[in-house]
């Protein structure tokens, strides 16, 4: 009941809501977004000033460069930087994360590819690696056999740079559908981060300037086109770091806790727009893509939906096997509410009356209904003495 009734309630009344897609405009110097309401597209800025589609395109001259170019409205340069197809493509940045992306089952092996290009193109990974207590082990996909020589080479290479086993976390993008490969970012047990590459089948392990004090716990290999940086890292106090091409570390001026927050980053050659959501709202940050300084910040509260408001009056809690925060299946309670006690007491009284009319003596059922509400009221109607 506690599982199915909230599900039925969701099914009947839930209306999805989403956070608009914000971008920082280098023209108006504030956040602009578009939303689709009542069959109409609305183009708005932070002051709720409305624009038409053409004006909106012009407010984001890099994001909509190709559209503006087709109309001969593209700007030749902005803030001293030339705008052309090459610079627009090179400056793109993106990234995202949410609690479910880290709290989910993992396979236990990861693919690794050759970082050097064969005849101008990257090749798909032919091996996987598994992390062991004091070593790393490579397995050939073709014959399911352990490549002992390569495993020893990589283990020795890690030992040579002072790696503290075991590998706690690693992040890479082992696909040939990208411009270049920068291997894996690897976190050791001392919260230090290393870059692992396979070059001509040989290991290339380099220690980054991440210090244990940063308390890095999560990593994300990015490999942007301009190669200015190659990864994100999340550390102590919800700090967000960029791992730069020269292995230095740059701390950005916003906080993300991926155990609680959804985060996404969309950027161009001039500005990145970062959105960090939490239970009550979302923060927008505009980051200078060259200096990595925060140049604008806004906080927006999410309106409480009537669905959420009414839910707390109906059910004392909800029961779930799946949550938005993770990908595991296990039973858990959520949305505890004292407001539902009012309905519970009314239902308990009603049940007491029904039981008395039926001349049944199961008076413990109304008592249970005071605490469990609808979840016990409905089955209690079917429970009859001597049945």
């Amino acid at each position: 009941m506690a599982w199915m009734l909230p599900w039925l309630y969701d099914f009947a009344f839930y209306k999805p809501s989403s956070i608009p897609n914000y971008s920082f405009s280098p023209i108006s110097r504030n956040f602009v977004h578009w939303e689709y309401t009542d069959g109409k597209s609305l183009y708005l800025d932070s002051d709720n000033k409305s624009y038409n589609q053409d004006q909106y395109d012009s407010l984001l001259p890099i994001q909509y460069y190709f559209i503006l170019e087709s109309k001969n409205k593209a700007l030749p340069s902005l803030e001293g930087y030339p705008i052309n197809r090459m610079s627009v493509g090179m400056g793109m940045a993106n990234g995202s994360g949410n609690p479910a992306s880290i709290h989910r089952p993992s396979l236990g092996v990861k693919e690794i590819m050759e970082s050097t290009k064969y005849r101008l193109a990257l090749q798909d990974p032919t091996q996987v690696f598994r992390c062991k207590k004091n070593s790393i082990e490579f397995i050939n996909k073709s014959d399911n056999k352990i490549d002992t020589l390569k495993s020893r080479l990589f283990t020795d290479a890690f030992n040579a740079v002072g790696f503290n086993w075991p590998i706690v976390r690693s992040s890479g993008n082992p696909t040939s559908r990208k411009a270049y490969d920068f291997g894996y970012l690897v976190l050791d047990s001392n919260h230090e981060v290393y870059n692992m590459l396979q070059i001509h089948g040989k290991p290339y392990i380099k220690k980054t300037q991440v210090t244990p004090e940063m308390g890095i716990t999560l990593l994300s290999m990015r490999e942007p086109m301009n190669q200015a940086y190659f990864g994100y890292a999340l550390g102590k106090n919800d700090s967000f770091y960029l791992i730069m091409k020269d292995y230095s570390v740059k701390k950005l001026d916003f906080k993300v806790d991926l155990n609680k927050n959804n985060f996404w980053l969309m950027g161009n050659m001039l500005y990145w727009t970062v959105t960090v959501t939490d239970d009550t709202g979302y923060d927008l940050y505009a980051i200078n893509a060259h200096t990595y300084e925060t140049i604008a910040h806004e906080r927006h509260e999410t309106p409480v939906l009537s669905y959420t408001k009414s839910l707390k009056w109906v059910f004392p809690c909800t029961f779930h096997f799946q949550r938005n925060e993770d990908k595991w299946v296990y039973p858990s309670f959520a949305d505890w509410s004292y407001y539902a006690l009012i309905l519970n007491i009314i239902l308990a009284g009603l049940l007491f009356y029904i039981k008395r009319r039926r001349k049944e003596n199961e008076l413990w059922l109304p008592l249970v209904t005071v605490f469990c509400g609808l979840f016990s009221f409905i089955p209690a109607l079917f429970i009859r003495e001597n049945s």
């Binding site: 396979l107 092996v109 996909k141 096997f321 595991w328 039973p331």
Partner: protein, 224 residues
């Protein structure tokens, strides 16, 4: 006496057992052939890739509802004649503890299903372990395990519904069983049930208590 009960139940279910056994094993072999075909005509790397990008129990998900169906069929075959031909009345009047009698009857069904499931899943896993590493085999096994536990659960719950003497009780038990069985299918992500599968197995075994309840109601002669 135990041997006699086992023999009686075996005579009743052996034909269904062999049909279910053959069906499940054939299905496993069919999946094995699919993997073999990919290895021979594409490459083993493709099989690895399918598992690495997998988020819905690749290959094995083709038999997702088969164990559930097997459990339901076996329960019907074993318990419907008991009820319709009133044999259960005689069975429960034999000088032997009734709970134990019912437990024995259920146990043989559970053992038959377990044998079928172990052989079919074992065949698949054994073949798979020659192609991919043990982490992937385990992941695939864990994808399928909830579906096979659902098979055992469906057997016990459908048996309970069969023994239940009143239609009102059957409808309520049927609804509750459907909701309970839904739990095993809420996610197809490999290893998603890692934290809960042991608990679910315990709950499935506790479902036998529901069966005892239906039996007592049957003994009391409750009717609609």
């Amino acid at each position: 006496m135990n041997k006699a009960i086992f023999f009686k139940e075996w005579i009743k279910t052996k034909r269904t057992f062999w049909i279910l056994f053959a069906t499940m094993v054939c299905f496993s072999i069919y999946i094995i052939f699919q993997i073999f075909h990919t290895c021979e005509f594409v490459s083993p790397t493709r099989v690895w890739n399918n598992f690495i990008i997998d988020d819905k129990g690749v290959y094995i998900n083709q038999m997702q509802f088969l164990p559930l169906l097997a459990g339901i069929i076996l329960a019907f075959v074993q318990f419907v004649p008991e009820i319709t031909l009133k044999r259960i009345k005689l069975t429960l009047h034999v000088p032997y503890p009734q709970q134990k009698m019912l437990l024995m009857m259920t146990l043989i069904g559970v053992l038959e299903l377990t044998t079928i499931f172990v052989v079919s899943l074992g065949l698949y896993s054994a073949y798979l372990s020659t192609i991919v590493c043990h982490e992937i085999v385990f992941s695939s096994f864990m994808s399928a395990l909830p579906w096979f536990v659902a098979g055992i659960a469906s057997y016990i719950l459908v048996s309970t519904i069969c023994i239940e003497p009143t239609w009102r009780g059957r409808v309520i038990e049927g609804l509750m069983s459907a909701i309970f069985l839904r739990i095993f299918f809420v996610s197809v992500l490999p290893k998603a049930y890692s934290f809960s599968i042991v608990g679910l197995i315990i709950v499935v075994l506790l479902c036998f208590l529901l069966m005892l309840r239906s039996m007592f109601r049957f003994k009391q002669g409750l009717q609609d």
